[in-house]
Subunit: 331 residues, 2 copies
């Protein structure tokens, strides 16, 4: 039997399990040019929250009573497609279904011999690409500069920090627990780590950890952490606005410190980053990430949740900060 996970209702504020519906279905029949895919790993990502709203954005919203989709690794169980054969593994944006058919469009073969399959959703997938391209294309970090990362123990943040160290930066990050903050230093090579939930004065804690000020701020979180960072930016600072997980479940328009005076007095730049804008650079970026991974220069962590039935819960747990590194569901 097959199962689909549909968006049952648009979440108001924080999503709940009631916003998702599991429905049984047949396993689809394939025709010429198609293949049958069995879902193996499912990526759950903060940006999916935005697609659950009925709002214009860079990708269209999910539809009510239709399956949700995200990055998925699947196994080819049967194929009438010339380019794919039974036993292949593929990666792409697919639907939250145990089985689905595909004509291969937008899918890429991945090699389980070269890296664990789940890595193709993380360090060698959109996560790694987001970290790499955001830092290079907007952050433009240079040796000797200070790089500050929010959500630093998350999937993207933990990669950003390590690339910063490879480039020769002083790297400091925030995370939401002492455990995660420790991990930043022990496993991800950060020079400094701040538990933003426990420090009495975040602005001062950042100033202490970044005595030379902040040249590049890679922001995955937004909100009060970003407010505290603004007071510590240097002239010509670059702020990569990659994510704003602290704001995604807000039901009112989020308010905060106005950024304009900080940007003016520092000639600073702030730019929204969507990885798909840089698709032409994916091959070269993946090549570099793979090389660093092979050289042992990049470490990555995954939080792997077991079971197709736990996909919605794993997604909800992102907003509780329950993941370290990439959150993936193994089906």
């Amino acid at each position: 039997m097959n199962t689909h996970i549909l968006l049952k209702s648009r979440p108001k504020g924080k999503p709940t399990l009631n916003d998702f519906q599991f429905v049984p279905d047949e396993i689809p029949q394939i025709e010429k040019g198609e293949m049958l895919l069995k879902t193996v790993y499912v990526s759950v990502d903060p940006y999916l929250r935005g697609r659950m709203n009925d709002a214009k954005s860079y990708i269209p919203p999910f539809q009510i009573n239709k399956p949700i989709s995200s990055g998925i690794i699947a196994e080819v169980k049967a194929s009438k497609h010339p380019d794919f054969t039974k036993g292949d593994f593929v990666s792409g944006i697919l639907e939250w279904k145990k089985f689905q058919k595909s004509n291969g469009k937008g899918l890429m073969k991945v090699d389980p011999a070269k890296a664990p399959l789940s890595a193709y959703l993380g360090i060698l997938g959109l996560t790694g690409l987001t970290a790499y391209l955001g830092l290079f294309e907007i952050g433009k970090s240079k040796k000797g500069e200070t790089l500050f990362v929010s959500g630093a123990a998350g999937a993207v943040g933990s990669v950003v920090g390590q690339i910063g160290k490879i480039l020769g930066c002083h790297v400091v990050g925030t995370a939401g627990s002492d455990e995660k903050a420790d991990l930043l230093k022990s496993d991800f090579a950060f020079d400094g780590a701040i538990n933003y939930k426990s420090v009495p004065n975040l602005r001062k804690a950042i100033a202490t950890a970044c005595p030379g000020g902040i040249d590049v701020y890679f922001d995955n979180v937004g909100g009060p952490v970003s407010d505290a960072v603004l007071f510590n930016i240097n002239p010509f600072a670059r702020i990569v606005v990659c994510g704003a997980i602290s704001l995604y479940n807000e039901t009112r328009m989020p308010m905060g410190i106005r950024v304009e005076p900080f940007l003016i007095k520092n000639s600073a730049l702030m730019q929204g980053f969507i990885v798909n804008d840089y698709a032409r650079k994916f091959p070269s970026a993946i090549k570099q990430l793979s090389a660093w991974l092979a050289e042992g220069k990049l470490n990555y962590k995954e939080t792997i949740v077991e079971g197709f039935e736990n996909i919605p819960l794993a997604f909800l747990d992102l907003f509780e900060g329950k993941n370290v590194g990439k959150m993936v569901v193994k089906v």
Copy 2:
């Protein structure tokens, strides 16, 4: 006799006349390599408010009981400097004094035969340079795009809009009275003009005036106008953060709509602009501005206040929006 204008106290919030002090002094004696300057025109600018705070910024703060300085056109009354002779007119950052001496450093000769002297503080001075370089270096406006300008009837805004029209943009601006809004269309070639103080719903008024959305936002004002603009920006929009006059007199940290979600979903850029960062491009920019002016493609307005004793009041009036175009004091 000579007179100086000193900063008597750092303003709390909106400056008042009591923050300034007039003191009499001797007319200085000059030595070899120096000249005696008589102030002719004084530029008063919103950015001077920032220098009245004791805060780190891109230029050092004014000192208490020391003269204020700004852009000034002066006449050389006597010279022992090889490069300047009596009767020359010079432009530069000088002190609020009726007479002062100078060694010529940082001063540029200006020609009263080529343009009215006050124009060298405005359209052919830092005002014109700010408009031109902000729009070209950060805004990167292209033909067919929509350019939105806040503070559009001000010194910089009125030039920005006209350059936008030269480039072939759809140009819309905000101003603080019906009179100014009318002027934007009648004198400065704007396609649309909004009195932000009188429209019932600024966000909708902007949407109506910019049916294709906003590609470049040249911001002189900050605050609620910018909030309303954010809802109307297009993918890959560029926001030139040139000034934030609405915030300069705030005594509390100004709060507003968080920009991050807007920047992310539009891959939009926001960058603080300080004209002095682009000093190497001043000569080519002035050349282009002079050419447009000579061709009749640029119009400019000045609000000229008479009398050295009125310099502080003219400065205060900027924050009441009493100027149209460049505010200048004729001594």
